[in-house]
Amino acid sequence: MSIKSLDELMNIRKKHEENVSLRDNDNTSQTKLLVGMATCGIASGARETLNELLKEIKAQGLENVKVVQVGCLGYCHSEPTVEVNIPGQDAILYGPVTVDRVKELVERHIINHEIIEELVINQNFDRA
Amino acid sequence: MSDKIKLTINKQIVEVNPGTTVLKAAKSIGIEIPTLCHMDLCDFEFVNKSASCRVCVVEIEGRRNLAPSCVQKVEEGMVVKTHTPRAIRGRRTSVELLLSNHPQECFTCPKNLDCELQKLADDLNIRDIHYVGEKINYEKDSSSFSIVKDPNKCIMCRRCETMCNEVQTCGILSGVGRGFDVIVAPAFKLPLQDTSCTFCGQCVAVCPTAALTESNRTREVWRALADPTKHVIVQTAPAIRAAIGEEFGMEPGTLVTGEMVSSLRELGFDGVFDTDFAADLTIMEEASELVHRIEHNGTLPILTSCCPAWVKFIEHNYPEMLDIPSSCKSPHIMFGAIAKTYYAEKNNIDPEDMVIVSVMPCVAKKAEAHRPELTNYEDSNVDLVITTREAAAMIKEAGLDLKNMPKTDFDKMMGESSGAGVIFGTTGGVIEAATRTAYEWITGETLEDVEFNDMRGLEGIKSATVNIGDLELKIGIAHGLGNARKLLDSIKSGENEFHAIEIMACPGGCIGGGGQPYHLGDSEILKARQNALYAEDKGKKIRKSHENTEIIKVYKEFLGEPYGEKAHELLHTKYVKREKL
């Protein structure tokens, strides 16, 4: 299994960068998705939403996108809630983001920076 | 454009070859930097390079600390100052520290007035030891018959370690432990008797203090001399006569045979005899053995066995090759065997009342005399062995000044020696002596030119080929056990083939033995001693062992045939397989 060239090394690196991507802490360039995971969130399926987000981000090959669980965001009526923080843009809080809406969220907002109006709870939410 | 290096020492400019040490460079312009652990025996590939005593330190411009001049090589443009207050302070501190950890028993120390540390303390004007504290406290090792090891006097100069490991390749001594309590000792701090030490005594020969000295038997000799019931006779090895004069201020290499004999006689010995006589005896037996082996397809090569350190070396290190050495005892042992039988008979003396004392240049012979194989009729062949230094001390005790003694001859019956017997004392001498006899025995012709220059000189390993009739006798010679090892390894591997090999454990042969006056690395002294022996050989009318009239007599009247039954009983021995530790 010898690595015989610098390119080979780079490929291996790319493959494994995902595994450690959770540890990147660069607030200025990372997109952060905060998922409310308090009791009501979990009860409404936030855990599944989070896992689906991870799956979709990987499937889309997106880099520099972090998914962080947080406690109660306060909007219990619209759980599961996901807050999207893209550097340079306003924070957007979405809910309810059920598992079936995850793909859309990723494609429209994360990739295309398009706000999904019907899913928005509050547009000018202060950054967490 | 010369490729010498120019530097300044004490404001004087000096030019030397690259690779020269600052110490040597200074010496070349008459500046003596004190040293202690340093020892340069470069003729024997021995330079003690530990630079650990820190006495020879000097100031070098641009260098933060003081530098040890004995290992610091010169550099172009170097500016050295050897005796600034700073260098002197460094030197003094090192010696004061050594003295603070040294027993203060100079009065009764074996090296009183002969100790390098003592001399240094005086040279450096040390009259006060500021740093008083704990001292190392080890027991003296008097386990062996040859060497006394007193670790408390060790100054960690490592000369003995260098000698034992690099020159003699015995590997007995090494630094053991760490920190303040470190000493040079055998592995596990075992007593020497329990190791594979050969007692070659070269460590004793280089030790600057009394950490390593010979086991002193002079008291016992005095006791024997004072006992009216004892018939005490003494024999002197060939190497003694070329060196003992040095203990009395004479030039190295002054032949003092006659004076030595007179001095010993004055001490009260009932007979003063010559080991060279027994050397001739050894040749009779050993040449017979060589011829016997050649003619009967016996084991070859034959190795000379008169050196007990060498015998012990082969017993420990090459136990599988014990059929190679000659079975002959060493000369002084043969002497003892003949003295307690032939001489005793002829003079009506009860051998039980006899005390045979050997003066030897060697400390290994002290242990040799106690070997259980070297007895006849349950009595040791030789009773007491003292070194050249001990003999000189006894002569001084008797108030005699050797250099002013008259020249007299050895006593008869065992005092005559041929020139061949004399040269036993130097490397190459034994085999040259054997060749002189073997030649005439094998060819039946007279050997005209008895001097074999190929066998002479201080080179570590020599080889020579002598045409004896149809036979091309191949001879190998080694002195120093490291060279012996090389030679033996080459025989084992089949690289070299010899008929006869002479090995002496001490560099230079017996003249450089562990019991001789300290030469401290000066190979000029060794050369001078060698030349003295060759000169005595040249001055003799009889130069071949088998022509020695007393030898002829002892065979005719007592022993019978050389290599015969009686000869075997008295003059031959066996060897013991020993383990290596």
């Binding site: 015989k4 690196r13 995971m37 406690g71 109660c72 | 006495v55 600390n65 500021h130 740093y131 303040f180």
Partner: protein, 596 residues
């Protein structure tokens, strides 16, 4: 492969392991599995975070939450609250003692803010037992780049330009060392990594080896390429079993990936690394003694010149580098020497790892740019003196170093500035001392160490350090005279001047340094008095003048007549004569005698 949404990094350095961080790991794995979260949460052991005072430490990613003083018993709560419900466990967060508030993120802590982790870059970030995590963070890219695009001379020039200096304490320019070895004639050369780290209290190298072993392996290979060596040896002290284990795993993994062995990255370059264990001798940290030990001989230093670059291991050209020095190599290659030049001071570029210990609040491992002042380290990073006591001095350089007092607290740390004030950088040990520390005892502590660790080869060190120690013992027992004090100083200067190797040459430093700044304390000891009351033998009985009623009961009782005082006047004990029998204490009716 499961997609983890959480990484829990648990500190696996020896310090936290000693506090059962393994138990934390085990509990996490068990409880997460039990509760069905093991496919979503990855638990990993990582290297030292450095904030050892607060250990055991765990860090949760991507939440970037830093929990301190965690015990295995806390794990269940962390899982229930944080992992499952996303709620921080407040009581396990670090509380800033000045701001009195809990701090979530590492980068907001005053302990971490001034730090710049280059040598320690991966410690706390990656799992040291997984080569792919090292690769994910640009591991082995430097080696690959060098082998593909650069000549050995290019590499050496980069190192020279970077101005990296030996981090073991010598401060010798690394690039120059590589150049000498490269230029030395011969085609059998060696790279040796000095992992013997013997200074008491120093654990910089240990943390790097435990937390990021591959950084050392990669650097050794790069060095090998630069000087033309095919064999690397790591001389590691046997007292570091965890570091040894991590190195062995790393070497095996590197071999498996072809990053060690023949034709690395498909080039002509071969390189292999072997481990050699030390056997408990501090002196084997000295490079020539280390080489002797590696050859199977007594670990005794040799006279220099010749230097190892021309004649080292087996008499061949050898380059010996310290672990921390090597840990800097890959970043320099990747980021370029100019990047390194911008960090630190003019003559000392880059950072230095320090092991902070002693009377300081935040004991641990820190890495700061050169030029950071001692004040910043002691107060900002270190959190000030424990127990609110006053700062007295800081000792750097271990047994070879000296003390730095208040007046030099604003000295920016670099090799030359520390030397100029009588101390030295050393390998990075930094012991902080407060007002209750007796400086004579400190000197004695260090000499106790050096005289025992002396190899015994040269006179000044073998006997000299012993005598120096004996003087210090006399001082702390109140048996020394002023003459002794002067002789001690002279002896120290002489030993420094004449000893054969660094151990002996620097052994007197603690004494000379403390003498320079605290001569009064030494004189006090001569007079039988220890100002900090640390030296038990010098403690004395005193009489409280306020309480004393002048009854003369003690005066009459004293067996050596050392108490003076008239009736109704406060009595006084003459400390010089007092034999500390306590008879006065026993007889005083009003408890006016103060026992030491």
């Amino acid at each position: 492969m499961s997609i983890y949404r959480l990484n829990i990094m648990v500190c696996g350095g020896t310090g936290c392991m000693a506090s059962d961080s393994q138990g934390i790991v085990d509990n996490f794995k068990d409880i997460l599995k039990e509760k069905g979260y093991d496919q979503e949460v990855q638990v990993l052991k990582t290297g030292c975070f450095g904030f050892c005072e607060q250990g055991p430490i765990i860090k949760i990613h991507p939440d970037n939450v830093f929990y301190v003083k965690v015990t295995p018993e806390d794990v269940e709560e962390i899982v229930d609250e944080h992992i499952i419900k996303g709620r921080r466990v407040e009581r396990l967060l670090y509380e800033d003692p000045d701001l009195k508030e809990k701090i979530n993120e590492q980068s907001d802590m005053s302990f971490y803010k001034p730090q710049l982790r280059i040598a320690l870059r991966n410690c706390g970030l990656i799992n040291p037992e997984d080569i792919f995590e090292y690769i994910a963070y640009r591991g082995y890219e430097a080696l690959g780049t060098v082998l593909k695009n650069q000549s050995p001379e290019d590499v050496i020039n980069t190192m020279i330009q970077s101005n990296l200096r030996g981090r073991g304490g010598g401060g010798f320019p690394t690039g120059l060392k590589w150049k000498f070895a490269n230029k030395a004639p011969g085609d059998e050369k060696y790279i040796i990594c000095n992992a013997d780290e013997g200074d008491p209290g120093a654990f910089m190298d240990r943390s790097i080896l435990e937390g990021d072993p591959h950084s050392v392996l990669e650097a050794m290979a790069i060095a090998g390429y630069a000087i033309g060596a095919e064999t690397g040896l790591i001389y590691i002290r046997a007292e570091y079993p965890l570091a040894i284990k991590r190195l062995e795993i790393a070497i095996d993994q590197a071999k498996e990936q072809g990053l060690l062995g023949k034709n690395i990255f498909g080039s002509d370059f071969n390189f292999n690394i072997k481990l050699k264990y030390g056997a408990g001798a501090f002196v084997c940290g000295e490079e020539t003694a280390l080489i002797a030990s590696t050859e199977g001989l007594r670990g005794e230093p040799r006279n220099k010149p010749p230097f190892p670059a021309t004649s080292g291991f087996k008499g061949k050209p050898t380059n010996v580098n310290n672990v921390e020095t090597l840990a800097n190599v890959a970043p320099i290659i990747l980021n370029g020497p100019e990047w390194f030049n911008k960090i630190g001071t003019e003559k000392s570029n880059g950072t230095k790892v320090f092991a902070l210990a002693g009377a300081i609040n935040n004991v641990g491992l820190v890495e700061v740019p050169m030029g950071t002042t001692l004040r910043e380290i002691v107060y900002d990073i270190g959190g000030g003196i424990r127990g609110g006591k006053a700062f007295k001095a800081v000792q750097t350089g271990g047994p070879s170093g000296g003390v730095i007092t208040t007046k030099d607290l604003d000295t920016p740390i670099d090799y030359d500035s520390l030397q100029a004030i009588g101390s030295m950088m050393g390998s990075g040990g930094m012991i902080v001392m407060d007002e209750d520390t007796c400086m004579v005892s400190i000197a004695k502590f260090y000499l106790d160490f050096t005289q025992e660790e002396s190899c015994g080869k040269c006179t000044p060190c073998r006997i000299g350090t012993k005598r120096i120690f004996e003087y210090l013992e006399k001082l702390t027992e109140g048996k020394a005279t002023m003459d002794d004090l002067h002789n001690l100083k002279e002896l120290c200067e002489s030993v420094k001047d004449t000893a054969l190797c660094g151990l002996g040459q620097t052994a007197p430093n603690p004494v000379l340094s403390t003498m320079e700044y605290y001569w009064d304390e030494y004189v006090a000891h001569v007079n039988g008095h220890c100002p900090t009351k640390e030296c038990k033998a010098l403690l004395s009985y005193t009489i409280d003048a306020e309480k004393c009623i002048g009854c003369t009961a003690c005066v009459k009782k004293c067996p050596v007549d050392c108490i003076s005082g008239e009736r109704k006047e406060p009595h006084v004990i003459d400390e010089a004569v007092c034999i500390k029998c306590g008879a006065c204490y026993d007889v005083c009716p009003v408890d006016a005698v103060i026992k030491p």
